[in-house]
């Protein structure tokens, strides 16, 4: 009798232990995804509420549960301030059980959050920011740079524009880490392609509304191409005022980071003819149209590449959690890097050991009002850039994680 009791106790104890182990697979019984973005500032149209919606859609499409645990989406406004971003991330990790942070538009906020996440062993999925160094010298083991980076923009647009005869450049650059890095990357591309860079004017950002003096400098430089190494409202005002001051059409603009939301607010009459590089366009194929129309119904605007990237990144993360059978960051990130990405966003995406997601990019030309047949019919695809051409190779990145 005693033996039976003993066996029973041991079995029960073992069962209890396995039960506990099964519970531990998902920390805190919830997979919590934080969308940290600019909810009301300069980048709120290209990321912001649309990014939160995209993350919610990804969770919904997963049935709201992974490994039997609820998926929860939280969001916060980092106001484009690095300190607010890192404080929010700390609070999310320490007190609110957030497992992963998505979007992080604006490089200064992403740069502040990545080290915090690495220290706490949580994952960051960058969709909004552009700085190439996030998977180069600033890389962390828990980061995926998902949607695009400056290198891809610089190469996509820079190389093609030089090829078409635009061999002298002048930059109008946003004076912070993102703009400078974009200018630097594009300069390299232009020079490598045989062009030359005549100079640059750096404007404070955000907060500049009048770009005329910078554009005048671009004008007097005599460069064939005025490269806009800025984003959002800055780009929109630059393009508008370039037309006003007669910079265009004599000189051509190359928008290095232009979102479909910018084109929408500018109108085709002002933006027509401009070349730009994007990771996503709603009207590429049936899959992109289907997803984008769903997004449009809820958001009333077509998705930017950042929105599509947030959805795809969050889905890929959830798939990895499911496949790894845990939300443990080390295992999930390994799973994410081991699995190719195949969805409406990319047919052929791979995340490298440096954390850079390499996928197709698209060089597009903005249609004229006459060419545009329907609302949001804005881009003509000039070239589909394959992943290995669109993004720097692992060797070219100076990420210390990758042993040479």
């Amino acid at each position: 009798m005693l033996r039976v009791t003993r066996t029973l106790v041991v079995t029960l104890a073992a069962l209890a232990a396995t039960g506990a182990a099964a519970q531990d697979k998902v920390s805190d019984n919830v997979v919590k995804i934080g969308v940290l973005t600019d909810m009301s500032g300069y980048y709120s149209d290209l990321a912001g509420p649309g990014s939160v919606l995209a993350a919610r859609m990804a969770a919904e499409d997963f049935g709201g549960k992974v490994l039997g645990k609820n998926i929860e989406i939280v969001s916060a406004d980092h106001q484009n301030k690095a300190d607010i971003a890192s404080n929010t991330a700390r609070k999310w990790f320490d007190e609110e059980k957030v497992d992963v942070i998505a979007d992080l538009v604006s490089s200064s906020t992403a740069g502040a959050v990545m080290p915090v996440a690495a220290e706490k062993k949580r994952i960051t999925l960058l969709s909004g920011p552009a700085t190439t160094a996030f998977t180069g010298e600033k890389c962390t083991p828990y980061n995926v740079h998902y949607t695009y980076n400056n290198w891809a923009l610089a190469n996509g647009t820079g190389r093609e524009v030089v090829k078409q005869g635009g061999d002298s450049w002048f930059f109008v650059t946003a004076d912070y880490v993102f703009g400078k890095s974009l200018e630097e990357d594009t300069t390299k591309v232009v020079k490598a392609a045989g062009g030359k860079v005549l100079g640059a004017a750096r404007h404070p950002s955000p907060g500049t509304t009048d770009f005329s003096s910078y554009l005048l400098q671009a004008q007097s430089s005599g460069a064939k191409i005025v490269g806009l190494a800025n984003a959002g409202a800055d780009t929109v005002n630059s393009i508008k005022q370039a037309k006003e001051f007669g910079v265009t059409p004599k000189q051509s603009l190359a928008g290095l980071l232009v979102f479909i939301s910018d084109i929408h607010s500018l109108g085709l009459d002002i933006a027509k003819g401009m070349y730009l590089t994007t990771a996503f366009y709603w009207d590429l194929n049936d899959d992109t149209r289907k997803w984008s129309k769903r997004f449009f119904e809820k958001h009333k605007k077509m998705p930017t590449m950042v929105h599509a990237g947030v959805y795809s990144a969050v889905s890929h993360y959830l798939n990895a959690v499911k496949a790894a059978g845990t939300d443990d960051a080390d295992k999930v990130i390994a799973q994410m890097k081991a699995t190719p990405v195949k969805d409406f966003f990319t047919k052929n995406g791979k995340i490298g050991p440096d954390g850079l997601h390499r996928h197709e990019m698209y060089l597009v030309r903005v249609k004229s009002p006459q060419e545009s047949k329907a609302p949001w019919d804005y881009y003509q695809i000039v070239k589909t850039i394959p992943p290995e051409e669109a993004f720097p190779s692992v060797e070219a990145q100076a990420c210390p994680l990758v042993k040479k």
Partner: protein
């Protein structure tokens, strides 16, 4: 760079200075006569631009009518603000007015942000003023020339009315000693309402002028209002001539900075402010009270 580039930058500075002058004029009038620090000025400027855009988009009203109607509509909103809210704060510390108008700014920007997003909308340059002229040293868009001309005209007119006419004399008397003026049979509260409404209409007017140049966005006023406040402080709080001259002058200083060291262009105004306050605490044209 060379003299040609410098003159180009100075011209651009003059154009920006015209906006500063137009906006700081309204602020100076409101502060000078009502003693209210109207932090909502940037938001009202934005509402002027949005009013013009909405008139064009929903009602098909063009630029010229908008130049008249948008300030009128926003001016009426100003009158409502004064009657319902601001009025209750007269006689209290300046800080209360500042907080109230700051709160109103946040509400207005929030509402427009909610309705139109942040990328904003494009407002076309009116056909009559499209194109530009080559001035030898720089290409000058006709519309910008128009901005400078109109701004100087409106500023001079406002200065004349306030400093040189009987109506202006009443207004100034009202700020010195409202009770005494009321005893003479002048309706001082009404005068205050009209003054605030006029200051607000000036902001909206500047907004309509700015709409074809800048993207019409909910935040377009928020970066400008800080600079404009600096202009008013440098010119001397409440000094009307001071704010006009300083507005234009600072535009030029900014233009010069953009030529010499562009990175400093956003702080140069505040450097000037600090220096002026050290030497003349009441501002260039201000009187010590």
């Amino acid at each position: 760079m060379n003299l040609q580039a410098l003159s180009g930058q100075l011209l651009v500075g003059l154009i920006n200075g015209s906006f500063y002058a137009l906006l700081s004029l309204g602020l100076a009038i409101i502060f000078g006569l009502l003693n209210v620090v109207n932090f909502a000025h940037g938001a009202l400027y934005m509402m002027g631009a949005f009013a013009a855009w909405m008139m064009a988009t929903y009602l098909g009203i063009g630029y010229w009518w908008a130049l008249l109607l948008a300030p009128a509509v926003v001016g009426v909103i100003g009158v409502v603000i004064e009657r319902l809210l601001l009025r209750r704060l007269y006689g209290l510390d300046n800080l209360y007015g500042l907080l109230l108008t700051f709160g109103l700014t946040l509400i207005a920007e929030g509402l427009f942000h909610h309705a139109y997003g942040n990328s904003g909308n494009s407002y076309p340059v009116p056909e009559f003023l499209q194109g530009g002229v080559r001035l030898g040293f720089v290409y000058m868009p006709i519309y910008r020339g128009w901005v400078v001309g109109v701004s100087i005209f409106v500023c001079t007119l406002s200065w004349y009315v306030i400093e040189q006419t009987k109506l202006g004399a009443y207004l100034r008397a009202g700020t010195e000693n409202p009770k005494l003026l009321q005893a003479f049979g002048v309706n001082v509260p009404l005068m205050f309402t009209i003054t605030y409404g006029f200051g607000v209409a000036l902001a909206a007017f500047a907004g309509v002028m700015a709409a074809p140049v800048y993207q019409v966005t909910p935040l377009m006023g928020s970066s400008l209002v800080i600079v404009v406040f600096a202009v008013v402080v440098i010119g001397g709080m409440g000094s009307i001539a001071g704010s006009i001259v300083t507005g234009l002058g600072l535009g030029l200083v900014e233009g010069l900075t953009k030529y010499l060291y562009p990175q400093a262009s956003s702080v140069v105004v505040f450097v000037v402010m600090a220096i002026v306050l050290l030497i003349r605490p009441a501002g260039l044209f201000g009187r010590e009270r």
